[in-house]
Amino acid sequence: MVLAFLVLAVVGPLINGHGPNEYVGPPAQRPSAAWWFGTTMFGQDVFAQFVHGLRSTFLVGLLGGALAAVIGMVIGFTAGYRGGAVDEGLNMVTNVVLVIPTLAVLLIIATYLKVRGVVPEAIFIGLFSWPWVARAIRAQTFSLASRDFVDLARLSGAGGARIVVTEIAPNMSSYLFMTFILLFGGSVLTAATLDFIGLGPTDGMSLGLMMNNAVLWSALPLGMWWWFVPPGLGITMIVGALYIMNVGLDEVFNPKLREL
């Protein structure tokens, strides 16, 4: 499912030549052979917008998710492995960022950015969605750090960083991967929210932006469902698929869930 969309996002823009904002057809057309998803108020091809939207959606997901994962891991590992004062300090930071409502911050930042693109958006999202990861990883690291194979490594005189990379991280790789998936989904949703509020990329196209436009140009009373249904559906499909995929992995990784 996800892959299908991914492919679509990559090749989509190629198979239909025109950009997402070009006026290619008659305005407000229902979906048809010519316009698979119909056209907008101004005769832009909804399908074209959709595929471009998918692109930025994946971009945000990957970038935001990755960034958050990295920060979370770095902080989580150091806190969990070093413990002591370092841990206390990082813990404090984590809690602070954790409690601050992300969207509110993003809103404010976004408002003050002069011109916004997809990439900075993703980065900001990443910068604020790492705390729970840090927390989880810290906990895991704690339990692992006391295992004997880690002691062994320590005895063999390996440095902290090396131990984390070579001994600890591999032992939670499955966990890390699942975390990343969750973060991916999270970033996508957050981005969609921002875009919808109208704080999305000021250039280019995204699924959230499509919904935003649809609402702004009163697609509802005009009954232009083909304008606001696809983008939302796209997001739901992608994120939902990811989550379910996560369950799959989860069941592979711990047999307990397999029973019953």
Binding site: V99, P101, M211
Partner: protein, 329 residues
Amino acid sequence: MRRHFGRKLLIYAVTFFVAVTVDWVIPRFMPGDPVQTMLARASLRPEANQAMQAYYTSVFGLDVPIWEQYLNFWGALLRGDLGVSIWLFPQPVTSVLLRAVPYTIALLGPAILLSWWAGNKFGAYAARRKWLDNTVLPVGYVLTATPYMWLGILLAWALATVAGIFPIAGGYSFDVEPSWSWGFLGNLAQHWFLPFASLFLVGFGGWAIGMRNLIIYELEADYAHYLAALGAPRRLVRRYAFRNALLPQLTGLALQLGVLVAGALVTEIVFSYPGLGYLILQAINNQDFFLIQGAFLFIIIGVLLANFLVDVVYVLVDPRTRVGMRGGA
């Protein structure tokens, strides 16, 4: 345990301080100045404009050194004064916000608690029926994956635009005046329902899944096996499992608050429901920092309080924290 709360309070204090400072700093770093924006809307004669510019700059206290502005900000804040709105000049930000907050709370409160409650119940219930489990799982995941606004739009379209059962927008009909009559309350409830529903559904899915998975973990716990081995009926075992699974769910609630607030904001926007979210959007569109700042503060404070509440409840329900073990959010 005292230590436990000590740390928490400290964290909250720091958070609050940081948040407020960020909140104060950002507007100062952004292009243009508020007064100009405000006057830009009044197409004045240039000579008048100069005078007004100076005048309003002083009205908003932007004519003193930056550090002094910061101190004043705190001073005012402690007096519960968040300054004057630019967009709604000369209304004080506080009163503007106070008018919006009840709507948001009325939306968020029930949505959060109900979805949490129902979600948990349902998740626990689903966990014991195979077929139900198989249906609930995907549905739940899809629900959590749904962007709030999209669900909102769909509901608005289906139930309001097409079916016409519910109003599309607003806090209450335009032809009534507020009063404590059933008619009015009904009217309120009717406008409240759709936004509430879209918040509720998304939340519900998430909690149901969370609970379902936790229960399954709990049922594999040693105590569950022991009880079973001693022939205790499934009822008892499940009761324990459910109760124990509630704890992590509670932590989850605390972690989720931020997201939930976000959800409320967009939902309000979809239904132009006169709460904080809708206000914030307008404040943003009108570049009214004082209002944005204020709203942000309200949210921060709200989330902090809620978090603290969760902490307290957690300590009350989980003996382990009470025994002084570290635990809870």
